[in-house]
Amino acid sequence: MASFKSYLVKRIILALIVLYFVVTITFILSHVVPSDPAELYVGPKATKEQRERAVIELGLDKPLYIQYLNYIFGLFKGDLGVSLRAHTPVLHDILAYLPATLEIVIIANIIALFVGILFGTFSALKKDHLEDHLIRFVSVGGVSIPSFWFALLMQLIFFGVLGILPLDGRVSTETQLFNPIKVITGFYTLDALLNLNFPAFIDCLRHLILPAFVLATYPIGLVTRMVRSMMVEVLNENYIRFAKANGFKENLIYYKYALRNALTPALMALGLSFAYSITGAFLVEVIFSWPGLGTYTVNAILENDYPSILGVTIVGTTFYVGVNLLLDIFQAYIDPRVRLK
């Protein structure tokens, strides 16, 4: 196990280095872009005294390297600075917007996991048949269709033509006004259940379907393709042929011996796509007026609210690096070949 430990230490150090560089590069980029944070902080009609005070409060009078050091030290205390526009701690804002994003992203990835495995396995078993071709067509489509276009198309069909699903938002006006959900976790579906408010739960689910499905298209394609190619490979292995020759039941062979081997890479891919969606879902969020982190980021960028931009970048990177690290460790743990390389 000694080699596993040293592998673990190596990977964690590497992850920290990546994080450090991302913070530094983003900090420098956001400070060399010409902008006037003090003006944004005090508003367009402020007096000279207000501006001067803001410069001191924001520490803008100090040289850049001091500002940088202050920022880094702040990070260790969990302080991501104060939003220039809302004057609230950035970390607080991010935590407020995060559950909405996590809600659709988690559901999208669960959909992707089940649908992807099902499609992938089925496709591999029916290799070169019509079913296989169809599924391959769908999965290539899933990874290549632009999400915003697909989102609009889904809105057009399910809201515009069929009128069976809501256009956007997290809950309907009626629920919001007359049957409000008491927020506990920020995950509305979960909160509605905890409130024992079932009509609101149904309402939330109806609002979740389209954005979650649109977000799931990419990972569905990804998982399907991964599982299919791994399955095809595994099904040609000697041990499978041996099992068949020994008269094992087909389903047992496929789902217990073959699929298990084919699953790990698909899970890895899904993990990364999950981490990416935390901030990468913004196109879908904007179209569905979904109050998540993506929307928050877009607003921060449009307003040039650099503490917020930095904060989102750091949180997004941490998520991505963290998930990546966990996946690597997990893989190294179950597959000794990885850590020996």
Partner: protein, 536 residues
């Protein structure tokens, strides 16, 4: 079939029939006994589809569009009734006020029996606390309290303001930014309190309190049962204000009846809506105008004759009629129509190319032959159309208008650099923080050490004296102050320091079943939900 089974079945059928009959009778009775419940005449809730989100809910900081919410949740000492310009100031949380002859001491008597949403009684301490917090934080519109040196609590219902220089304090106290009164029971640390407000908590005395808030998307207000005006008569109980950025979506919402109020629709949509019996289109003077500041420090616009020629060459009518479809009027001077300090009869420039040619010849440019740089904010369709119409007119004088689309930041940093390198004409909008001519006349044309908004680079000590004196008199001798404000405006019109283009209307589209909606120019795009009621 055995007898017993048959009997059982028949019995259960009988019970079923009786049950159904009972239910039907109950329903019929219920509808007869409570007819008003199934058919209410008054709607209990309204939806306002607003154009942008609200950066903060902290009443001390709010300086963008938050008054749309805050004016229903909080109150100020004095209310500004824009529909009665001759005496617009009426009691709100203060019942009366008086000032010393020198205008340096203002005393407000406060309303009794008012309580904050958290149950704390409203009193002089709360007034002192609120204004001192706003002043101390120094953010948003805090500077309106700059004249205030000290706030003294005389007794529970009397509060005294000591000023360091005379100022119209009653007007300041009616401001839609930075003048809201809130409970002293908010978190004591200023930044903690900001965070507390932004979670959707409130501490006002207004008719409504915040029920839920989803930052960036929507807010629900519900009526405050113990509101001091009481709830007799027809009222709304709940309000949903939601952010709908896309104008087409706002149009759809108001047409489909999903929203009862909306604002800021492009004028192209309005003819269609005017013929729709389900909605009403309201044009409300906005105290907001579009101006083109003219650089007085760069050739050739450093010559007053050239500036006047440029003002005569501007197609005011075309902008009002074809671009704004009459939802605006031509400006007379820096102060917009209907506002304190607006004088309809002041002399001003009208479109007249012959006069423009004469003036150019006098200035030494009989055949034009120069270039004027004009900047406008990228993405602003109105400014863009105005610039293009103007270009066509100037071409007739053989003047080349170099139109540059720039971000706000780029536009301002060009204007705040060396005036000799800055744009000749800068298009932008202005509106007052609280209703006073001084806001326009000071910010736009008063001498400045470092350029903030005086993009004309106009430095005239006579003008500065006029408006500074007027501002000090505004609280105590309004007529004299207005006279001086008029003189000052005539001065800048003569010196032609800006193109005074149009005074704009706020366009609101409302459900035609809404009754008693009183738009108020002093509270931009605000619906006072307490006043209205809606037919079901």
């Amino acid at each position: 079939m055995s007898y017993r089974l048959f009997y059982k079945k028949a019995l259960s059928r009988k019970v079923g029939l009786v049950g159904i009959a009972v239910i039907i009778i109950a329903i019929v009775l219920a509808t007869m006994l409570f007819p008003q419940q199934s058919q209410p005449k008054v709607k209990s809730s309204v939806v306002y589809a607003y154009v942008s989100d609200f950066p903060t809910l902290d009443p001390s900081i709010a300086f963008e569009d938050e008054q749309v919410i805050l004016a229903n949740v909080y109150e100020t000492l004095v209310f500004y009734n824009s529909s009665n310009p001759s005496s617009p100031l009426v009691p709100w949380l203060a019942t009366s006020w008086s000032y010393s002859p020198d205008g340096l001491v203002w005393t407000f008597s406060l309303r009794k029996g008012v309580i904050f949403h958290d149950g704390t009684p409203f009193n002089a301490e709360a007034v002192k606390f609120s204004i001192e917090r706003t002043k101390r934080m120094g953010l948003g519109a805090a500077y309106i309290w700059d004249p205030v040196k000290e706030i003294q609590v005389v007794d529970d219902y009397t509060v005294k303001f000591i000023l360091q220089y005379p100022a119209p304090l009653a007007q300041i106290a009616s401001s839609q930014y930075g003048a809201w009164i809130f409970s002293p029971k908010i978190p004591s640390n200023d930044t903690d309190a900001t965070e507390w407000f932004n979670q959707g908590k409130d501490a006002g005395t207004g008719a409504f309190t915040i029920e839920s808030y989803e930052a960036g998307f929507q807010i629900v207000l519900k009526k405050f049962d113990k509101y001091w005006k009481g709830w007799n008569g027809n009222h709304i109980e709940k309000v949903l204000i939601k952010t709908v950025r896309d104008p087409t979506a706002r149009l759809q919402a108001i047409k489909a009846g999903e929203a009862d109020f909306t604002v800021d629709l492009p004028v192209d949509y309005l003819p269609e809506l005017k013929n729709n019996p389900n909605v009403k289109v309201l044009a409300i003077p906005s105290y907001r105008n579009l101006l083109g500041m003219i650089n007085t420090k760069r050739s050739p616009t450093d010559n007053v004759l050239v500036r006047q020629a440029l003002a005569y060459a501007f197609p005011y009518d075309a902008v009002v009629k074809s671009v704004m479809q009459n939802y605006a009027v031509q400006s007379v001077g820096p102060i917009p129509q209907g506002m304190l300090g607006y004088f309809e009869d002041m002399e001003h420039y009208n479109y007249n190319l012959t006069k423009a040619k004469e003036l150019l010849a006098k200035a030494g440019y009989p055949n034009g032959g120069f270039t004027i740089i004009l900047t406008y904010t990228s993405g602003d369709q109105l400014e863009k159309q105005v610039a293009e119409l103007y270009k066509a007119e100037l071409e007739k004088l053989n003047i080349n208008l170099d139109i540059r689309e720039m971000t706000t930041k780029a536009k301002y940093s060009m204007a705040r650099g060396d005036p000799a390198q800055a744009q000749h004409i800068l298009l932008f909008y202005w509106w007052p923080t609280y209703v006073t001519p001084y806001d326009f006349l000071y910010s736009l044309f008063h001498s400045e050490e470092k350029v903030i908004f005086n993009f004309a680079y106009y430095y005239n000590s006579t003008y500065d004296d006029l408006i500074d004196t007027a501002s000090k008199l505004e609280g105590t001798d309004l007529n004299k102050a207005l006279e001086l404000y008029r003189k000052a405006q005539e001065q800048v019109i003569r010196d032609c320091t800006a193109l005074f283009i149009i005074d704009m209307d706020t366009i609101m589209v409302i459900n035609s079943k809404v009754h008693n909606f009183k738009p108020n120019s002093a509270y931009t795009e605000v619906v006072f939900f307490y006043d209205i009621w809606v037919e079901a």
